[in-house]
């Protein structure tokens, strides 16, 4: 057997690398939809995408997660066909078209062992701005309150701030979290914590025996039902956004996402489907 020299090995290797990088050029035959944005929406839209692919052979739906701001930016720049945004569009984003595909409610949660049953709006504001620092002041045990807040830029935070007319700088937090489940896990592991999360997921976690408790807001029980009938005060739309008037495949996908054919998927992700 002939011996290869080390040099030959190296040359062969670099040729192989070149081949590997160029050989698998994608088949451009299929049509592709790219959606990017909100991590809240990404799992739902990925599921909708799979069903859409089944019903429309030859179409691929690629969903990338990364935050509502990215959904806005990518939809604007054309990097994505559709942006995912888990809030209403702001005044300076009116150049984009938005299509609501589901609703989501936000509520406060505390640990199951916390005796506090309800908090008034002023009490919530005082807790989050650091004026009330112990549970005893609102009828609980004599323990310091651990305030769990969301990180800057999250649409949940923006909604919360807007509802209670607060500024980001006013809040004194003890734990700052990124994603929804981190909030639930943090509160479940700390008997003196308070945080705000998506209602649907919190209801699900309670049904799974996770030790958390949903607090009513302004006297309205925090439940998916009350988000559906519009009584719950703290709710947000989950939107698909596009740059221009949408047409073709994009239009088809948006219509599909708003139709009753995806209601089961919306409910499976613990969101509230649109009324028809």
């Amino acid at each position: 057997m002939p011996r290869l020299s080390l040099n030959r090995y190296l040359s062969a290797l670099s040729v192989m690398l070149l081949v590997a990088t160029t050989a698998s050029i994608p088949q451009a035959a299929e049509r592709k939809l790219v959606l990017t944005g909100s991590s809240t929406l990404a799992p739902l839209v990925a599921e909708i995408g799979k069903r859409f692919e089944q019903e429309n052979p030859g179409v691929r739906v690629d969903v990338q997660s990364g935050g509502s701001s990215r959904g806005i930016a990518d939809a604007r720049s054309g990097l994505a066909d559709i942006g995912l945004v888990s809030r209403a569009l702001k005044p300076d984003e009116q150049d984009l078209k938005s299509f609501t595909i589901a609703l989501d409610g936000i509520t406060l949660i505390v640990h199951k062992d916390n005796p506090v049953q309800t908090l008034t709006d002023p009490q919530i504001v005082d807790i989050y701005t650091g004026k009330i620092t112990r549970w005893r002041a609102v009828g609980g045990a004599d323990r310091p309150i651990t305030v769990v807040n969301k990180a800057e830029g999250r649409s949940t935070l923006e909604l919360f701030l807007h509802h209670f007319q607060l500024k980001s700088g006013d809040i004194t937090a003890h734990v700052v979290i990124g994603e929804n489940q981190q909030g639930i896990k943090t509160v479940a592991g700390n008997t003196s914590a308070i945080g705000y999360v998506s209602i649907g997921t919190a209801e699900y976690e309670v049904s799974q025996g996770v030790p958390i408790k949903l607090l009513p807001m302004a006297g309205v029980d925090a439940s998916v039902e009350n988000v559906r009938n519009g009584r719950f005060p703290l709710a947000r739309p989950l939107n698909l956004v596009t740059k221009a008037e949408s047409e073709g495949l994009v239009r088809q996908f948006i219509d599909f996402s708003r139709s009753e054919r995806v209601h089961d998927l919306v409910e499976a992700q613990y969101f509230v489907p649109l009324a028809h």
Binding site: G178, Q182, G189
Partner: protein, 292 residues
């Protein structure tokens, strides 16, 4: 190395060709860093150009949307968590390596080494998940809020420990057997041999490992993000929640635009700057690395 004296090596065209290939490869490897630094500078330029470097250290708070870009508290948090983890992991890691080489019965040394290698491959997300659901509640029961500098240090320790242990193990293995025989012939005790002969001989390898580990600790993102609490403040006790520079980037990058985004890239530059300082210091201090 001895071969750098050209009179010894046999001149050969194959060697010259190989050297050519190798230089290209090394050039590419070095180019990666240059590319990354250029990229960081490019992205952070808009805000650096407008407000300069100093504001990032002197501003009172981090509220980029309100024009405040103070990174100092996060700088301290990063330093505190990395230093703490390095001290703990340094001790435990070197001890682990000594355990494998000198203390453990052979039947235990192999599985132990495999275990440490495995620890190196556990994703930071899993460390974070474990920290969030096991460690943080434990600390919270004792000193709320639980998500704290301490939790960050402990998780980081576990994460960088394999790097320290495996490189220290390799460094110990490279200590010439003759040294050990010599020490045994002098009648030195096991602890004496280790402290006076083995560790000094393996010093530069261990330091190289600690450096790698320090880099990893400074740069770790996901696990720290999940356990350290992420409140922007200068830590005054182990139980204070803190936000590190990396967590800051990971938490806000997805949502940041304009100067806010550029400010986050400055965090990346600051981090790289710290690591350059560390590397230069190590080069000065441990310049002996090449004669292991």
């Amino acid at each position: 190395m001895i071969w750098s004296k050209h009179s010894i090596s046999s001149p050969s065209r194959t060697d010259a060709r190989l050297a050519g290939w190798l230089s290209i490869a090394a050039g590419l490897a070095a180019a990666v860093l240059v590319l990354i630094v250029l990229f960081l500078l490019h992205e952070s330029w808009p805000v650096l150009n407008r407000i300069g470097w100093l504001r990032f250290l002197t501003d009172a708070a981090w509220h980029p949307s309100e024009g405040l870009f103070g990174l100092a508290p996060m700088l301290w948090a990063t330093l505190a968590s990395s230093t703490g983890a390095l001290v703990l992991a340094g001790g435990l890691g070197v001890a682990s390596a000594l355990f494998c080489r000198f203390y453990a019965p052979p039947s235990a040394a192999r599985p132990y080494r495999r275990m440490v290698t495995l620890l190196a491959g556990i994703p930071s997300v899993v460390f974070g998940l474990w920290g969030l659901t096991v460690l943080v509640p434990l600390i919270a029961r004792w000193q709320p809020p639980g998500a704290s500098l301490l939790a960050g240090i402990l998780i980081l320790t576990l994460m960088i420990l394999p790097t320290v242990a495996l490189t220290a193990d390799a460094a110990l293995a490279a200590v010439p057997k003759a040294y050990l025989h010599g020490a045994a012939a002098l009648g030195m005790s096991r602890s004496g041999t280790i402290l006076r002969v083995v560790l000094p001989a393996a010093r530069s390898g261990i330091i190289a490992g600690l450096l790698l580990a320090a880099g990893r600790a400074l740069g770790e993102t996901m696990a720290v993000l999940m356990v350290a609490g992420n409140v922007v403040q200068t830590p005054h006790s182990l139980f204070d929640p803190v936000r590190t520079l990396t967590a800051n980037i990971a938490l806000e990058m997805d949502y940041a635009t304009g100067e806010h985004r550029a400010g986050l890239f400055v965090s990346g530059l600051v981090l790289s700057g710290m690591i350059i300082l560390l590397a230069v210091a190590a080069l000065r201090f441990g310049g002996a690395r090449s004669h292991v």
